[in-house]
Structures are given as structure tokens and as C-alpha cells.
């Protein structure tokens, strides 16, 4: 009998960064509005475009943490 689940290494708080992008979009009533406008662009649009940058930036700390783990001898 093979236990095929990958080994669990406990919860790492750094992975919470990956939940932030989903939080940006999970509640439409928050961003479904016109004001405040930015350079004439309604909030609905510039907020979501900002969300793309937030998404990319939130992956960076997790990436760096994983790289650090490799240096630390694991794997």
C-alpha cells in the first residue's frame, strides 16, 4: 500500500501572500464603483489594473522564501 500524498511539512505563513490577490477581487461590491477616479479612469478599472501588479508582487516573497529554503539544505 503506497501512501501517495506528498509529505506535509506543516503550514508556512509565507504562503498567505498568495491569498492576497484573491482578496483583491473576492468582493465585487467594494470595487464596483466609479469614484475615486484616477486620471479620468473610474475606480472599477484602475483598481483591477492595480490588482495585476499586486498579484505579481505577492508571488515574489514566496519565490524568494522557496529559493532560501533550497540554500538551507532541504531538497
Amino acid at each position: 500500500m503506497i501512501e501517495d500524498k506528498p509529505p506535509r511539512r506543516g503550514f508556512r505563513p509565507v504562503y498567505l501572500f498568495l491569498a492576497i490577490p484573491y482578496a483583491v477581487w473576492v468582493w465585487p461590491p467594494f470595487y464596483n464603483r466609479v469614484s475615486p477616479e484616477l486620471l479620468g479612469i473610474p475606480f472599477f478599472y484602475w483598481w483591477q489594473m492595480l490588482g495585476i501588479f499586486i498579484t505579481a508582487l505577492c508571488i515574489v516573497p514566496v519565490y524568494r522564501w522557496q529559493e532560501g529554503q533550497k540554500g538551507g539544505g532541504r531538497k
Binding site: 503506497i2 500524498k5 466609479v34 483591477q48 490588482g51 498579484t55 515574489v60 519565490y63
Partner: protein, 517 residues
């Protein structure tokens, strides 16, 4: 509609140059192209930069560049769901898909169905995944050809030839088809990757110019947004006891992003990278394309503000292609002649490149998971590669036939269904990277999800994929892929539990936990 010869000449020159690049691709980092992993995965050799171009070109297709602004143009804010979709897929890519790369490279898997075959040892489930992929990606190829048709029409190239079986065929479309078929056949994924670089550079130039020049001519972004009908500028407010358009918006993004990387052409793009680190790094840099996509979506509003749909010179185009003509008309109206040529070349090449990788993915899937699995189990690697090349050609021919003989609306409807079907492979492919459910349960869940999803869209007359659920007095408008997936998941989990209790777990898993990291 009179088109400047300058536009056509710039378009033709760029198109020819890029086609040549694709044909020369076989010599680039040349490998033994009689091997399937060399032809169909570029020898798993692409580094961070090439993968960035390849996946970027693969995920953001010409059809996207035409259809997303068309949706904004016609329906307003709802069309912007492409932005959360194109952003939120990256945390998922970062977390899950390096695992797929690792297990695939360790076991020599070329397709998602290969992985399912190895992970579950169940031929039926692997076949279901392969067929889902094939059926979902075919109309996608057809839509790339539709994108090409729109460009050809915008250029006013209305020469046709009459062919047996096909009837009257646009000559430029036929030429583009043969270029596509030729470089795919000879160069495989290497040619596609080279074209991706050229295509993306053209796309970025076009987008940059468009977001600077067009709003400036229209009097600024405030004017552009002011031209949008107020009721379309935001999602419709939710009525009582209804979760409203906001919920539909979020589920559309969620269902689309879950499906995206499970499409055969995405899997091909991911597995062709040279290491799992390439995928992780790309999850950080690929959102650059999402920014471009958001700006492209706004082109739909610029088209509204420019009033191209009311100009007599574009009436014929709108009549033939509907809202899909909004962006080409905007380019013709706003850009200098030579630059319109460049922009159209970007779209046309942006159709060729994903069509090529989709056809390659079809070739890989059919050969590995149907031909080798069921028809000729002991075929040589050379036969395997040759078979894939032939299938890739047939897939494109099928798409061409589809576009010419059937109405475009069928391709659009099938593509809509395709997204829903692909989403039903989440438990057997994506989830299987972490948890192994019982293959029989997964097959039942998949069948239920596909059936239910198809039924929901059919009951909406294939016009929409947002099916309103009625639960406890509430109306919940939900993307059918997501509600079908929920049923699929619950069924898969419950049946696994039941089967485990009654017949014991099937353990024919040829992968091990270490294979995934």
C-alpha cells in the same frame, strides 16, 4: 471601404518575414525532430525568456485581442472579467504547475492525459481527459482563423478562389493556412517559439501606441469613459434575493482561470520549459501580459468613443463580424496607414502562433493517448512523431473547414462549451497533483460535470454561460463551469469514499511523492 496600399504592403512584408522565421525555426538549437518530445515540446529546452514569450503568445491569442474588447464594446464592465482571470491564474501557475513539470519530466509525460494515465493507471479516465482536451481545443483553433478572417476583411483583401469541397475560399486565408501548416510541420514547437517572440514584440508596440495615441486624439481617458453608456460602465446592481452580476463576474474569472492551464496548448507550453524554476519565475513576469490585456480591453471603450460603428465605411465589416470588428475599425480610423498595417500583422501573427501550438498539442494528445494507447501500442518513436505531425495538420484542416462551412457562431458556442468541459478535468489533473482520488469516482464526476455543464448552457440557448441557480429563495447567477465543477468535485470525493469503503482503493500509481518536487 478603401484601404491604403501602404497598410497592405506593411502587413504583407511583416507577415512574410515572420513566416520565414518560423520555417527557419527547425535549425534553431536543432534537435532530432523525428522524436515527439523534440518536435512537440521543443526538447523541453526553453529558458525563462523564451517561455515567457511562448506562454504569453499562447495564452493571449489573437482571438482574445479581438473578442475581449468586442465584449467591452458590446456589454461593458462584464467584459473586464478577463483582468481578474488573467491575474489570478498566476498564483495557481506558481504553486501547482511546477509539480506537473517535475512529474512529467521524470516520467517522460508529454500531455496531461499521460500524467493521468500514470497517476491513476486507468485507461478510461486518461481517454476521457484526452478527448476533453481535443474537443475543447479544436474550436479554439477555428476561432484563431476567425481572427485572421476579421483582419483580412479589414484589409479589404477580398480575392477568393473556388475549391472542390470547400467552395469559395478567401485566398489570403488559404495562404495563411498553408504558411501555418508548413512551419508547424517542419519546425514544430521551435518554430512556434521563434514566431512568438516576433508576435509579442509587435503586440506590445501596437498596445503602447494605441493607449497613447488613441486617447490623446479622443481627448483623454475621461472622455473615453464618458462615452460609455452609464448602465454599462459598472456591473449591474443586484436585485433583492439575487447575488447579482458581481457574483457572475467573479465565477467567470474563477472558472476561466482554473481551466486555462489545463488546455492542451497551455500544458504543451508549460512542459516545454527547461526546468520548474522557469515556470515559477514566469508566474512573476507573465502578468506583464495581463496589463497589456487590460489596456486592450479598454480599446473596446475607445471604439465606442470614436463612434466607428456609426461610420458608413465600416458598416460592412460590422455587418459581417459584429462587435469583433470594433478593434480593426478603430485601428483603421485612428492609426496612420503604415501603423495600421503593423497592428494588423500583430493580430494575424497572433492568430498563427497559438493556432500552431494548439495544433501541436492536438498532435501530441491524439498520438500519445489514443493512437499509441489504443491503436498501435508498439509503434516506434519515429512513427509517433510522424503521426503527431499529420494529426496537427488534420486539426488545422478541420478548423479551416469549420470556419468556412459552418457559421462562426458554432465555433464561438463550442469554445464556450470547451471552457466548461476543460474545467471538469480539474479534479483528475490539477487536484491529482496533490491528492489521488479513485479513478472510477473521478470518471463519474467528470461525466456528471460535462453533462450538467452542457445541459445548463444548452438550456440558455448557447448564448450565455452564466446559469442562474435558484437556492433557498435566492437567485445565484454562476458561471456554468464553476457550478458543474462543484457537482463534479462533490461526486468525486463522495464516490471515492464509498468505493474505498466497499471495494478498496485502486493503487496503480506509477508516480511517487518525490516526483512532484
Amino acid at each position: 471601404m478603401s484601404i491604403s496600399p501602404v497598410t497592405i504592403i506593411v502587413f504583407a512584408l511583416l507577415f512574410a518575414a515572420v513566416a520565414l522565421l518560423g520555417l527557419l525555426g527547425s535549425r534553431w538549437r536543432a534537435g532530432d525532430l523525428s522524436q515527439l518530445s523534440e518536435w512537440g515540446l521543443g526538447g523541453r529546452s526553453f529558458g525563462t525568456l523564451i517561455t515567457w514569450f511562448l506562454l504569453g503568445g499562447d495564452l493571449y491569442t489573437a482571438y482574445t485581442f479581438i473578442a475581449v474588447p468586442a465584449l467591452m464594446f458590446g456589454a461593458g464592465a462584464t467584459g473586464f472579467f478577463a483582468v481578474p482571470y488573467a491575474a489570478l491564474m498566476y498564483p495557481l501557475l506558481f504553486l501547482a504547475f511546477p509539480r506537473l513539470w517535475s512529474v512529467a519530466s521524470r516520467h517522460g509525460y508529454i500531455t496531461a492525459a499521460d500524467f493521468v494515465r500514470g497517476r491513476f493507471g486507468h485507461r478510461g479516465l486518461a481517454l476521457a481527459i484526452a478527448v476533453t482536451g481535443l474537443v475543447a481545443v479544436m474550436p479554439y483553433i477555428a476561432l484563431q482563423l476567425v481572427g485572421m478572417q476579421v483582419v483580412i476583411a479589414a484589409l479589404g483583401l477580398d480575392w477568393t478562389v473556388t475549391l472542390p469541397l470547400l467552395g469559395s475560399v478567401s485566398l489570403p486565408l488559404l495562404a495563411a493556412f498553408f504558411v501555418l501548416a508548413a512551419f508547424t510541420y517542419t519546425s514544430g514547437l521551435r518554430g512556434t517559439a521563434l514566431i512568438a517572440v516576433a508576435k509579442d514584440l509587435l503586440v506590445y508596440i501596437t498596445v503602447l501606441a494605441a493607449i497613447i495615441i488613441i486617447p490623446a486624439e479622443l481627448g483623454g481617458y475621461a472622455k473615453v469613459f464618458a462615452a460609455v453608456p452609464p448602465q454599462q460602465l459598472l456591473l449591474a446592481p443586484a436585485p433583492d434575493h439575487n447575488l447579482g452580476a458581481g457574483f457572475a463576474y467573479v465565477t467567470l474569472a474563477l472558472g476561466s482561470l482554473l481551466a486555462l492551464f489545463l488546455y492542451p496548448h497551455s500544458v504543451t507550453g508549460i512542459l516545454s520549459s527547461s526546468s520548474r524554476h522557469v515556470i515559477r519565475r514566469n508566474a512573476i513576469v507573465l502578468p506583464a501580459y495581463s496589463v497589456a490585456l487590460a489596456l486592450i480591453a479598454l480599446l473596446g471603450y475607445m471604439a465606442v468613443a470614436s463612434g466607428v460603428n456609426r461610420m458608413p465605411e465600416y458598416a460592412a465589416g460590422f455587418k459581417s463580424f459584429g462587435n469583433n470588428f470594433a478593434v480593426p475599425a478603430l485601428f483603421l480610423h485612428m492609426f496612420p496607414h503604415w501603423f495600421a498595417g503593423l497592428a494588423f500583422a500583430a493580430i494575424a501573427i497572433g492568430a498563427m502562433m497559438p493556432a500552431s501550438i494548439m495544433a501541436i498539442a492536438c498532435g501530441n494528445l491524439f498520438t500519445r493517448n489514443i493512437y499509441k494507447e489504443f491503436i498501435a501500442p508498439d509503434c516506434t518513436p519515429q512513427t509517433e512523431a510522424r503521426m503527431a505531425k499529420i494529426v496537427a495538420f488534420m486539426a488545422k484542416l478541420g478548423a479551416l473547414f469549420f470556419v468556412l462551412e459552418l457559421q462562426t457562431t458554432y465555433a464561438i458556442q463550442l469554445q464556450l462549451l470547451g471552457g466548461i468541459w476543460i474545467c471538469q478535468t480539474v479534479p483528475a489533473v490539477l487536484l491529482a497533483l496533490y491528492v489521488r482520488l479513485d479513478p472510477r469516482a473521478l470518471l463519474a464526476g467528470w461525466a456528471a460535470g460535462v453533462g450538467l455543464g452542457t445541459w445548463m448552457v444548452a438550456s440558455l440557448g448557447f448564448k450565455s454561460s452564466t446559469y442562474p441557480l435558484h437556492i433557498a429563495g435566492w437567485t445565484i447567477p454562476c458561471y456554468a463551469a464553476v457550478s458543474a465543477l462543484a457537482v463534479n468535485l462533490v461526486l468525486s470525493v463522495v464516490l471515492t469514499w464509498v468505493l474505498k469503503a466497499t471495494t478498496g482503493m485502486q493503487t496503480t500509481d506509477s508516480t511517487m511523492a518525490e516526483d512532484y518536487v
